[in-house]
Amino acid sequence: MSAMGRPGRWISDHLILMIGLLVLAYTFVPIAVVVLMSFNDPAARLTYQFDGFTWSNWANPCEPEGMCAAVRVSIEIGLLATLGATILGTLMAFALVRHRFHGRATTNLVIFLPMATPEIVMGSSLLALFVGTGFSGDLGFWTILIAHIMFCLSFVVVTVKARLAGLDSRLEQAAMDLYANEWQTFWRVTFPLVFPGILGAALLAFSLSFDDFIITNLNAGNEVTFPMFVWGSAQREIPMQINVVGTAMFLISVLIVLAVSLRGRRGARAVA
């Protein structure tokens, strides 16, 4: 048995980890390409391959016409959508975990459904609403924002709810025992403890909003977000500067995630 078991154990100890690391490495291959191509000096306009090294894409990121304007639109919409979805979603999460109300099951279903609906269906139904109510001429910044708050909302609720549900309610009881009123308990105890969850939800909402193409494209009118700019250029010629933006997005997000997780770890140690 042990003769059979030992190689089996070795396999499960090392092989699985190897396969896991290989899969992880595979997910980084396209990122390596994006970083490489951000230094590409294309020989011809329409071939998408590495021809030579240059710093010029990084030196002149805004050279392609309209790209930086599109990035700006995406950032503006991303920030506003994050704000809206985080506020609405956090309130909903508190209601679901901490309060009684009728229609809880229906509410859960309504929150779950947007996550289980293909983007193309959500995008086309919103477009049908805007066109059917006579707003087809007003498609643009605000209709994109409405759509983004809508699809970010469920993800915020789920993220904040998870944090809130994992909270030790005895900490709040202790605050109350020490004569803190409800308001003080909330702002001094509950909110700081839930804050990492809210922050995580906000980061998630921003990245969902910044990256959305399918729903945005249907409801954008003449407004151009960054993903729409990339889509448009993919049909004609791809400016290498989109890879500069791609690389920057990657680096900034990784830095934020690392900063948040380091802070979280220190915070956890301080509490413990």
Binding site: V33, G132, V157, G246, M249
Partner: protein, 305 residues
């Protein structure tokens, strides 16, 4: 994206409100005050649009955005839309299903390694799972154009190994589309799988080996069944967006590899064929719902919602 893992765990065990004592006075209404703004938003911009979509799908097909539409209960929009597009419709389910299968094959070992083998590198590995997906979806997909290009390393290696013919190619084939879909939706599989594997009590697996189960038998009889909620959640979270996607088919495939998303997008965009687009959207949604219900029933996780 870390929320996806939580979606999986959240959906199955719904926590009841922690509050023990009955709320008194004004507190009784706090729940409604907190929940109503969000519900209104979802109602106005998620639920009501479905009604608009149904209405649009029954418009007189002779109308355009400019001349206006009229609801004429045109059920024939559905038959037209389906008979003209049954191929892209089938292809969406085929490509989406294949991508989901490959995501499961790649994602399970990765999730397993993170949950049981990563030790103190667990959090780092989780960050690394999500990190590549912080770059734009479109830019990632475009970089697959380069990886799979005719003169690229992958194609040349496969040609050298005679797996691919001398004039064989990957870009602009269904293989490229499925590769792109698999890559782009992998975290939707890994995170729910990880969430459910992580919750398995390692003592159960030890008990299996104490009872003389081989590692493989232990895996098949203990770990795999206990991770089924993650498999179900991951499969759904991968399949649904993959079947509705058109970006991969557009950027990595030929027009003959188009999926239902491409058709709907085309109808809404240049085609201005709103009624057929709406009908197709609803057909896609209905088929996905049927599949979800069937799948969840079969897999025995009836409390998904």
């Amino acid at each position: 994206m870390s929320a996806l893992g939580q979606v999986a765990s959240e959906i199955e065990n719904e926590p009841e409100p922690a509050e023990v004592d009955e709320p008194k006075g004004g507190r009784r209404y706090t729940g409604y005050v907190l929940i109503i703004p969000g519900i209104l938003w979802l109602g106005l911009f998620f639920l009501i649009p479905f009604y608009s979509l149904v209405a649009t799908s029954l418009y007189d097909p002779a109308g355009t955005v400019f001349s206006g539409y009229e609801v004429t209960w045109e059920w024939s929009n559905y038959t037209t839309a389906i008979t003209e597009n049954w191929q892209p419709l089938l292809r969406s389910f085929w490509f989406g299903g294949l991508a989901t299968l490959f995501c499961l094959l790649l994602g399970y070992p990765l999730a397993y390694a993170i949950a049981f083998k990563a030790g103190r590198w667990k959090n780092l590995m989780l960050v690394l799972v999500i990190a590549p997906f912080f770059t734009s979806f479109l830019i990632r997909t475009i970089s697959w154009q380069l990886i799979l290009a005719d003169n690229g390393f992958v194609v040349e290696t496969l040609q050298w190994l005679h797996i691919l013919g001398q004039d064989g190619r990957l870009l602009n084939t269904p293989i490229a589309v499925v590769t792109g879909l698999t890559y782009n939706f992998l975290p939707f599989m890994v995170l729910p799988l990880y969430a459910s594997l992580e919750r398995i009590d390692p003592r159960l697996i030890e008990a299996a080996s104490d009872l003389y189960a081989s590692p493989i038998r232990g895996f098949a009889k203990v770990t795999l069944p206990l991770s089924m909620p993650g498999v179900v959640a991951g499969t759904l979270l991968t399949f649904i967006p993959a079947a509705g996607d058109f970006i991969n088919a557009e950027l990595l495939g030929r027009p003959s590899d188009s999926m239902i998303g491409n058709v709907i997008q085309g109808y809404f965009g240049g085609g201005n064929n709103y009624p057929d687009a709406a009908a197709l959207s609803l057909v896609l949604m209905a088929l996905i719902l049927v599949m979800v219900i069937f799948y969840v029933r079969r897999a025995g996780t009836e409390d998904l919602v």
